[in-house]
C-alpha cells in the first residue's frame, strides 16, 4: 500500500505561545521565549537560562482522575492535542467510533520520578506516593494518559529517541498510514521544563551561559554561539490518510512526503556529517524530490559549537547547489529536546500556511561552515511549497521530514 499522508490538525504549547495564533505571531516577529530560572542557579546549575513555558490550569477542564496521572509534559501534550483535535474537526463522538492512534515522542519524566523517590525516602512508605505517580513517572506518560483521556483505539506507544523523538514519532506515524496499517494518528512530542530534567545536560557544559542577555543566548550557526538553551512544552501533529481526510471533510493543512532516518554508529554525543547526510538523502529519495525542490529547511541547529558546525556541513553537502532558505527556530525557542522534532513541523507548517520564513534570530556572524548556507536573519515573505525539518539526537539518531503544500 502507498497511501498519501496528510496533516489535518496542529496544536502547540510552547515558550512562543499557548496556541497556534500566538505562536505564529511570535515566529513572524522573531520573538524570543528565553528567560532565566533562578531556581536552577540555587541548585548549582552552570546556566539558569531556559524557555519560559506556562503550566496550563486543568482544574475545571479535566476531572481529578484524569489530572492526577498527568506529568508536567503530559499536561502540555494534552493542551496541544486538544487544540489539534479541534482544528482537525475530530470530536469525541467521532473518535470513539473510529480507530485513532497515538505516537508521541518523550524521553524523560524526571520531575515525577525525582519527587516520587524523595517521598519514599522521606515517608518510608510507597502508598503515600498516591495513585498518579506511576502514570506521571513512566516515559510513556503522554501516550498512556492521552489515549485514556481521548479514548483512543488505534496504535498507542511512545517513541524515545533523545532530541529526535518528536520527529521520529511523526515519521513512524507517516509510515503506518502510508502502509495502510492506520488511518489516523495523533503524533507529537513533549518536553518537561524544570530543574530536575536538565541537571545532567547542564553538567556536560552544553548550555549557553550568556545569562546577562537571555534573548540573545540562543544563536544557532552564529560564530559566537556558546551552547544551547533547554526549553519545552508540547506539539501535536495529526496525521491522516488523504482518503480519510477527504471522506470526513477534514481540513488538509499539508502532506508528509518524506521521512529519512539514520544512526551515526559513532560517538554517543558528537554529531556526524555522514550520518546526517544519509538521513537527508533518504528523506529526499523517499519523497521522490531533488535537493532543489526544497524551499526551506528548519535546521536542527541548537546553538552548540560542534552540532551546528556538523549540520551546516551536511546541509551544504546535500543542498550546496540550490541553497534553500534556512533558519533554526531554536534561536527563538531554545532547544525543545524530545518535543523539538514535532514543534518544528508545527512552526514550519505555520510559515508554509502564512507565506513567510521565520528568522534565525541572533545570527550575526557566520563561522566557516555556516557562511556557505542561506540563513534567513529577518522575517521574509516567501511562498513555501516544500520544507524539510531536521532532528538529531544523542546516540547518533537522525531524522529528516519533508512536508509539502497540498495543491
Amino acid at each position: 500500500m502507498n497511501n498519501r499522508v496528510v496533516i489535518t490538525g496542529l496544536g502547540i504549547w510552547s515558550c512562543l505561545g499557548k496556541n497556534l495564533d500566538e505562536v505564529k505571531e511570535s515566529l513572524y516577529t522573531g520573538k524570543s521565549g528565553i528567560g532565566m530560572d533562578m531556581e536552577r542557579k540555587a541548585w548549582g546549575y552552570r546556566s539558569g537560562l531556559t524557555g519560559i513555558v506556562q503550566r496550563p490550569e486543568l482544574k475545571g477542564i479535566l476531572d481529578r482522575r484524569a489530572r492526577v496521572g498527568l506529568s508536567e509534559e503530559a499536561e502540555y501534550a494534552y493542551m496541544a492535542t486538544l487544540e489539534a483535535m479541534k482544528n482537525a474537526k475530530m470530536d469525541m463522538s467521532w473518535v470513539e467510533k473510529n480507530e485513532v492512534g497515538i505516537l508521541y515522542g518523550n524521553d524523560s519524566s524526571a520531575k515525577a520520578v525525582s519527587e516520587a523517590i524523595d517521598t519514599i525516602r522521606l515517608k518510608k512508605d510507597t502508598t503515600l506516593l498516591g495513585s498518579g505517580s506511576i502514570f506521571q513517572s513512566m516515559n510513556c506518560t503522554v501516550t498512556m494518559n492521552l489515549s485514556t483521556i481521548f479514548k483512543l483505539k488505534g496504535i498507542n506507544f511512545t517513541i524515545s529517541a533523545a532530541c529526535a523523538s518528536g520527529s521520529h514519532a511523526i515519521g513512524l506515524g507517516y509510515l503506518m498510514i502510508k502502509w495502510g496499517l492506520q488511518k489516523h494518528i495523533i503524533c507529537g512530542g513533549a518536553q518537561e521544563v524544570n530543574p530536575f530534567a536538565f541537571g545532567s545536560f547542564d553538567g556536560l557544559s552544553a548550555f549557553s551561559i550568556r545569562e546577562n542577555d537571555p534573548t540573545k543566548a540562543s544563536r544557532p550557526f552564529d560564530k559566537d554561539r556558546d551552547g544551547l538553551i533547554p526549553s519545552g512544552g508540547a506539539a501535536t501533529v495529526i496525521l491522516e490518510s488523504y482518503e480519510s481526510a477527504m471522506e470526513r471533510g477534514a481540513p488538509i493543512l499539508a502532506e508528509v512526503v518524506g521521512y529519512g532516518f539514520s544512526s551515526n554508529g559513532e560517538h554517543i554525543s558528537n554529531s556526524s556529517v555522514d550520518g546526517q547526510m544519509r538521513s537527508l538523502n533518504m528523506a529526499l529519495e523517499g519523497a521522490g524530490l531533488k535537493a532543489s525542490d526544497i524551499d526551506y529547511i528548519n535546521a536542527h541547529a541548537t546553538s552548540t559549537p560542534g552540532g551546528d558546525f556538523a549540520e551546516a556541513q551536511a546541509i551544504d553537502a546535500v543542498f550546496g547547489q540550490s541553497k534553500p532558505m534556512i533558519s533554526s527556530t531554536k534561536s527563538m525557542t531554545g532547544h525543545e529536546c524530545w518535543m523539538a522534532g514535532a514543534s518544528e513541523i508545527v512552526y514550519s507548517t505555520l510559515m508554509m500556511q502564512n507565506n513567510f520564513v521565520a528568522p534565525n534570530i541572533n545570527f550575526e556572524n557566520p563561522d566557516e561552515a555556516s557562511a556557505k548556507l542561506n540563513i534567513v536573519t529577518k522575517t521574509t515573505e516567501k511562498n513555501i511549497d516544500v520544507f524539510l525539518s531536521n532532528s538529531f539526537g544523542f546516540g547518533g539518531t537522525n531524522s529528516s521530514l519533508i512536508i509539502k503544500k497540498i495543491k
Binding site: D63, R64, R65, S131, G132
Partner: protein, 85 residues
C-alpha cells in the same frame, strides 16, 4: 482538634480534592458510591488523610467504613488515639 473541626476538614478536602458536590455529602450516604471511588482513588484517600491528620490508613480499615459518618467516626477515633499515644 474537635470532632466538628475534623468533619469540616474532611468535607473540605472531599470537595476540593475529590471534587464532590458539597450538597452530596450527607452523613448517612454511602462514601464509595457518592465519591465514585475506585481502587486508585483509595490510594489518594490514604495520602490525603496522612497529610491532613498525620496517620496512615491501612487498607483493612476501609472494610468497615460505609457511610460518611463511619468515615468521620473512624478519623476522629484515630486522631484521638494519636493524641493520647
Amino acid at each position: 482538634m474537635t470532632q466538628e473541626e475534623i468533619i469540616a476538614k474532611i468535607n473540605e478536602f472531599l470537595v476540593e480534592e475529590f471534587e464532590v458536590d458539597a450538597e452530596k455529602i450527607i452523613p448517612t450516604s454511602n462514601l464509595r458510591e457518592t465519591l465514585e471511588l475506585d481502587s486508585l482513588d483509595y490510594v489518594d484517600l490514604v495520602v490525603i488523610i496522612e497529610s491532613n491528620f498525620g496517620f496512615k490508613v491501612v487498607a483493612e480499615d476501609f472494610i468497615n467504613i460505609h457511610t460518611f459518618q463511619d468515615f468521620y467516626d473512624y478519623v476522629n477515633r484515630k486522631v484521638a488515639e494519636k493524641a493520647t499515644a
